[in-house]
Amino acid sequence: MGLEIYNSTVQAAVNWARKFSLFQYPFVTACCGMEFMSTAAPKYDLARFGAEFPRFSPRQADLLIIVGTITERQGPALRRIYDQMCEPKWVVAFGVCASTGGFYQNYSTMPGADQVVPVDVYIPGCPPRPEQVLDALILLQERIQRGEGHSQIVLKAEAGHDVPIAAIRPRDKGPQAAPIGTQPHAVRPESAK
């Protein structure tokens, strides 16, 4: 009993620290990047919420912000970046394209980044206003404090705790992408010959 109280108190303190020290990795692919820059710039100032530094290495980041349209071709790269991040980690889908594919309903666009990585917070909008982004960040902070981020739940379940949310998937390993650069690039499909 005493240990559990100790654990929960420590967890609350750790989560409090985590939610105010988000190191973001902006995966910017499209026009939403403009709005992301605006959010990160002094006027709206993402840094007020502790998300101060964009780290351009996934190994130093714990918040993946997917900004813009994800194509099927980018899927393996996105998954690889997510796999490289240290746990616990969180994902925000910025804009309708990253959330659902947006108005692209065709052969090349992935219908939402959650097809390859688990997304914690979705921000609608085309593009979303900076206020929405800040709102999403606060929402994410609340989830982090409650320990309800995808990777937090996975870590808890792996440590043998009862996980409160029934809908949790088994640990999301996903298919590993083939190493970039090893795929034969000049191979032409049979139908094209």
């Binding site: 099927e72 052969y107 959650d114 097809q115 390859v116 088994p170 298919p175 000049a186 499909p189 139908s191």
Partner: protein, 166 residues
């Protein structure tokens, strides 16, 4: 506007290389026989009266029910004379190939790769004809009218999502 170009073409190519010429909205166009494609383009580039040194675009059109099925279109512009012309070449489906324009304008390399990627028109004499936008694993050519417009070919999916490869 550029009737001069059509006049030059008609005067030069008398062996049936020009299948059709016309004007639409003030823009002149010519339909070129497939085997004269490169010759006509090289002439328009080198002829001092035409001086069409700048190819602004090359793409293909799928006219599914028509024969020949595909049109390859090139837009040419003259920086010095400030006139332009549009050339077509019909490409049938069963022999979906056309002479490459890379020997005439090296900048056509990526345009032809795009037309090959999205329409499946092969360009003879192209130095490096492979897909440019879609990934090498992609099967088929997505801008062909008989390609289902929402048919995705995912490279990767999380577990539990539809369309998961493997």
């Amino acid at each position: 506007m550029s009737q001069l170009i059509l006049d030059r073409l008609v005067a030069t190519f008398t062996g049936g290389e020009l299948e059709q010429i016309g004007t639409q909205h003030g823009n002149e166009w010519a339909r070129v026989r497939r085997d004269a494609w490169r010759t006509v383009c090289a002439f328009l580039r080198d002829d001092p009266a035409c001086d069409l040194k700048m190819p602004t675009d090359l793409t293909a059109v799928d006219r599914l029910s028509r024969e020949p099925r595909f049109d390859v279109v090139v837009h040419l512009y003259s920086v010095t004379k400030k006139h332009r012309v549009r050339l077509y070449a019909g490409v049938p489906e069963d022999d979906c190939a056309l002479d490459s324009l890379v020997p005439v304008w090296p900048g056509m390399e990526w345009f032809e790769r795009e037309a090959y990627d999205l329409y499946g028109v092969r360009f003879r004499g192209h130095p490096d004809l492979r897909r440019i936008l879609m990934y090498p694993e992609f099967v088929g050519h997505p801008l062909r009218k008989d390609y289902p417009k929402e048919k995705r070919q995912p490279l990767i999916r999380r577990s539990g999502f539809p369309g998961k490869p493997e």
